[in-house]
Symmetry: D3
């Protein structure tokens, strides 16, 4: 900034960019003294939870049976402390600054953390079914250990199940942040509001989208690029999308959906149905039904 | 390396790999004393720009009105300094080493940085429209703040708009590096050369591709897996793709494109058109037109 | 944890989560004193290999001809040492703890590292053809250097070729971990078992899947979202997928596959064939054949 | 830990070391939710204060006049926030856990931080006199800048003056922690309770000790190894040292004390006095007095 | 390195510096595959030991009684693992490479680690006496907690006691490395071979030296700059210092040594003796004796 | 900063502290675009030089003979590059901003780096004599390797010799910064201007000071707390110390100086002389002379 001209311009731009009016529409007034929800901490929380649930994996590889209780104890305490701060951050972020009652929010945060901790044994049970499904369902998987080391499914589905549990317990923002972190890492975007049964697996997974109100049964398998989305052309009288309605598919038990299939709207895919790749499905499919793309035109110039 | 055999082999491989002839086709002779364009620095630049444009987000959560000008001032100075080095690196990287005129490139870099800084207030205005579009367009979004915390769209589109601005100002390489970083993070690949209007949004987004010469109007919305690509079968007399021609679609105002649709070639999708999921579109679509996949074959064995 | 209630619950959950029975199905007993395969180290190994193969890129930008041999020598030694530890970790991870013979595994690891090092010059030759294909095949690419700086293809394909070489040399787990790391970064999932010829390129790439037994000829080009997968409906008498069979496509020389095409099963796509976007292909395609989606239904209400 | 024997021993030692009785004499029960005073943060605070007081040094080298106010503003805000947390930590650490009143302690912390901030301009004035004294007093110093870059005196004395100010404002523990950090770095141990005038300097400095109740005038210069200590042979009726009495020397203006001199007790060293090296002084020295070691015995066998 | 001249010189210097003859006198051939003793790891080990011995301090401030056993258990396991590697490194470093028996050294390392772990409860007892001595002996100390937060004595003496214990258990090199690390941090240099009783304290401490064969009783207090050294003028027939002889002082119980006193040779300082500052003592001092410097010459020109 | 009062005060203090007049006496206007001399980089440079001079130590422990030349080559190149930047920073720092000639300073920096590199083989020879002296002279040293691992002497003396060489080559500031870093680490303060012969060693060393114009012969040994300082009572007509005069002692070959001795002024300590501990020497000592403290007064009340 050696020239006169630049300096003046620089100071003028600082003034413009500091003008409250220019950013007030997207400005969030934080509660002083309360941290912002932190992606970095949430990443730590998710990894810690995974490492508690699956001893011997996720950075905890040298665990031994003789000391495992010490490890679980320390990790669980650390998880509680980290999670408490994030849950409180989420509740504050969501609160009206004027009328905020910190004592109440702190008590609520502590209660949520306690409840989450109590759910961990069940979360482990459920996630073990998902690992099993991934192992059984992929001819390329040589062992369950390989699932942990090399498959995005475990990471994504564990993130989803953690996020879903927090959503059920009433935590705002945090669940979505967790699911978006998994989305960025694996390309799989499962909304934490979705309800998903046991033995769930996703192969490859890049591009998969599971919407907020989707309901999936047990033993469902999705391939890469599958969308379980909203057919959101229905608008309210003002032309805006109507919020908070059930608008994503219901997938029954034992359904397989192949690569890049797009299933939209509050439709039901019946038990044991198979949805072929690259199809666009907007109507119900019966139990045991099969849907495939129209035969393609071969050997023709485009 | 304890055995004689290994040592000899090792030294031989070092010789082979150090042989200039074996890598000269992919070797770039850098200008001594000038840094290489750095992904790490560009990441810092993009985050800094976001945090200047949206006070209170992107690592700057504790900003207060009383001191905001100090923060904006420091950040803008840091941004100028960091960007100057990268722009210069890009210009040098692109230059012919023999005839390079460092003084000229330095002056040009400074000019570009100044111009970029002056564009920031407009960039903020434009990006606020994108945030608005994401908020209005998604029934699952509870607040504008959630858009910042949990949606890949803001991160990708802000990267695109920064990269596009730098491309317009004549910076080589850097814009593509920025867009590729966003691509890696979100799975959304928008070429910085594309021209995109206001109120642009992308939902979920994984797999989206927007090509170099694409032109998008205002209020365009894309879903995951959408390609606005080139139908690049046209070759020159030597059988090579012809470069630098307009070859990607023109998307008019208020168009929605659903998941996994593939729109190819210099075609025009008319105002208000709706493109359904999983379709392959290579011809113009009229204003208000709707395109959907042929009805799928249900309940048939594959 | 200030309340009596919480403390008791906390201790109880620690006991439950430390109970061996609750996680024994997914527990891996590691060999004491041998490290676990490490994603962090593998990332370092892949970057080091890239930087040896392509002097001047990948964190090694200031290399000069006068000292290049020193650099290659040091990097190759470091690569050998790092890789040795990971290969040994992979072999131990795969071994039966009871009967493990560490001396034998160490010797085997050293042999594999030596063989890998000897393959590096050929690996460079092959990867240079891939860079060439990316440059020639993309009208938006301004120079070969841009390919290195801004294209995910080089990163993914170099990871694949490294992983494939290690798989050929008999290393378990490590190759899949390397390919999954590339998958997470680029959204491109190439199984290291796939066999791929020279001049291979992928454009944009998010969502691409290439299966374990796929065979690709020379000069093959894939676009984003392409699946070369298994049509895995065939089950054994117990209803499980049959493992280890050739079950992915054979793609002959000079084939182009457009965005989001899904090609499934042990079929053959003939030389010079073109597969259009968004199609679902489960039968052979002749040499020079072209496959496109059925014409879409335009201008109809959905 | 592969042998039975070791495991049992290990668990037994864990039990012993976890036994509250074995460490209760040295256990400090912290206030839940309040951080411990942190050496790391205090280091940051000291550096930040130095960098505010001396623009252009201490990690802030690229400051420019046009933006200096932005920098000072951001740094001062950061300093306030960091210091507040540490002052509160110190007050809590000192408090009786049973009757602690957090609201009061928070208000007190904020008041102390405000008062400290207001003192900074005076602190700068005072420290500039110290820099001047170091420059004038050392024939080896080429410039004032060299004093900042290469002399431990500025670092130690600035730490002392910061610590002293905090002590005066009523902060417990923190001042001593700051002075001990400087002690570790420079070997100079100045108790924050000491009162020291302007134009103070220390040359080389390793081994210097200035006690809690020492009083130094203006223009005092100390060399390495000088002790201004307590002659603490006086005991109370129980044989314990009597606490809180003035027990360290008073050093008047313009005194020089040479290397390794030990000055003990509440004595007065008169104005302009010179204390030679390696002497042990336990009585008053008159204004202008000179004290040297008895002549050594030369050329004699020991 | 742009000029011809420089390049040639550079290559020549590389050759010279790589010539084995030029450094063979100070070259240590390490055992392949065994790590070198690591200062960084030893620092970690010392901190971990301190934090096990004194729960609530040294980076472990948030410990709670309910979970303390988990923490001690994890830390003790980590300590065992880290220490094992360093002890083995020390033993290998000391061994003759030709005849090294790794199995034996590994077993010995494990045994030493086990023995060290078993000594920890006693080490805590002993160190608590040192804290007590520091607290009782310093009028400036407000609480025992202040001793931990602000006094170099605890850090140095705990390092010494850890190092001494390892020396007693037969570990080479490591103890000296630990004591040198404490020396660098506090300026206090206690050889791990010295034998020191309970209730030991050092005030300020910079410049203190306690030699390898020194023996100190209980309740000994040293001030800064005190040397308990060898009067090493005695040489063997070749003019070299005779090694491994007792050559440092014996200090009986309840002795105080004031600042900068130098006590040399295998002399005995009797019980309850007081040694004044800046004296040079080379003969025995009787029980209860007092030694002070000759009266200084005051008010004389030098 | 929630109260009106605080805000106003805060802004006022920012204004005061940003006022150029308040810090102009200690402000250094840096040359834009040139880095400040960096302690961090200098630390790296010193470590790199040590690791080049002593292969197998200082972070380079796994060096093998087969690849040593690659390592030395890479390290020497890195050293050259790092040093060049620091030398240039030092020259710029020292220059008058108005008339600075960057081209000349760059050429001079390069020349200095080249000259320094050429001196490295001699530096190694010299330092090996120092290691030898430390080993021979200390009965507690078990091997030369222990000298490297555990003795501050090698670190300090190598820093001094590097700094001295740079001073001789005309580099400003940098040498003093290097010696001050060693001072902070070891408590030994050797001015880089001092001239010191071969086989130099320092035992323990805390508190040692060697002044700018001191001259030491070969085989000199110093103990902790020794000062070779200026007897700087001589003033010029204005009462200021006269700069740039020889004012520190000349120490001839084979001299030993014991702990805490203070030797001041341009005196000569003759060949083979022995200076006892805690003495204050301000006159010449003959060849073979011995100087000890006056006999202390024992068994007297103080």
């Amino acid at each position: 900034m050696s020239q006169k001209y630049t300096e003046e311009v620089f100071l003028k731009v600082v003034d413009e960019l500091s003008d409250y009016d220019s950013f007030k529409d997207v400005y969030h007034q934080h509660v002083p003294g309360v941290s912002f929800p932190s992606n970095e901490r949430l990443k730590e929380i998710v990894n810690l939870t995974r490492s508690i649930l699956f001893p011997g994996y996720f950075g905890n590889s040298e665990v031994e049976m003789i000391t495992i209780k010490y490890h679980i104890g320390c990790q669980l305490e650390k998880l509680s402390n980290l999670l408490y701060v994030q849950v409180l951050a989420g509740l504050c972020f969501d609160a009206d600054n004027e009328s905020i009652d910190m004592c109440k929010l702190k008590a609520k945060s502590q209660q949520i953390v306690n409840d989450f901790v109590c759910e961990l044994p069940k979360l482990r049970e459920l996630l073990i079914t998902d690992v099993e499904a991934a192992y059984i369902g992929d001819p390329a998987a040589k062992s369950r250990a390989e699932i942990f080391l090399c498959y995005p499914a475990v990471r994504t589905i564990s993130s989803y199940r953690i996020a879903h549990q927090l959503l059920v317990l009433g935590v705002p923002y945090i669940p979505r942040m967790i699911s978006e972190m998994a989305h960025s890492e694996t390309g799989i975007d499962i909304h934490p509001g979705a309800k998903i049964g046991s033995y769930f697996t996703i192969d490859h997974g890049t591009g998969v989208v599971v919407g907020e109100t989707a309901i999936l049964g047990n033993h469902v398998k999705l391939y890469q690029g599958v969308t379980l989305g909203a057919k959101s052309f229905q608008l309210d009288e003002n032309g805006n999308p109507i919020k908070d309605l059930p608008r994503h598919p219901i997938i029954k038990d034992n359904v397989v959906v192949y690569a890049n299939a797009t299933i939209l709207g509050r439709i039901t895919i019946g038990e044991g149905a198979v949805i072929g790749g690259n199809v666009w499905v907007t109507h119900d499919v019966l139990d045991g039904g099969k849907v495939v793309q129209q035969k393609t035109a071969e050997n023709k110039p485009i």
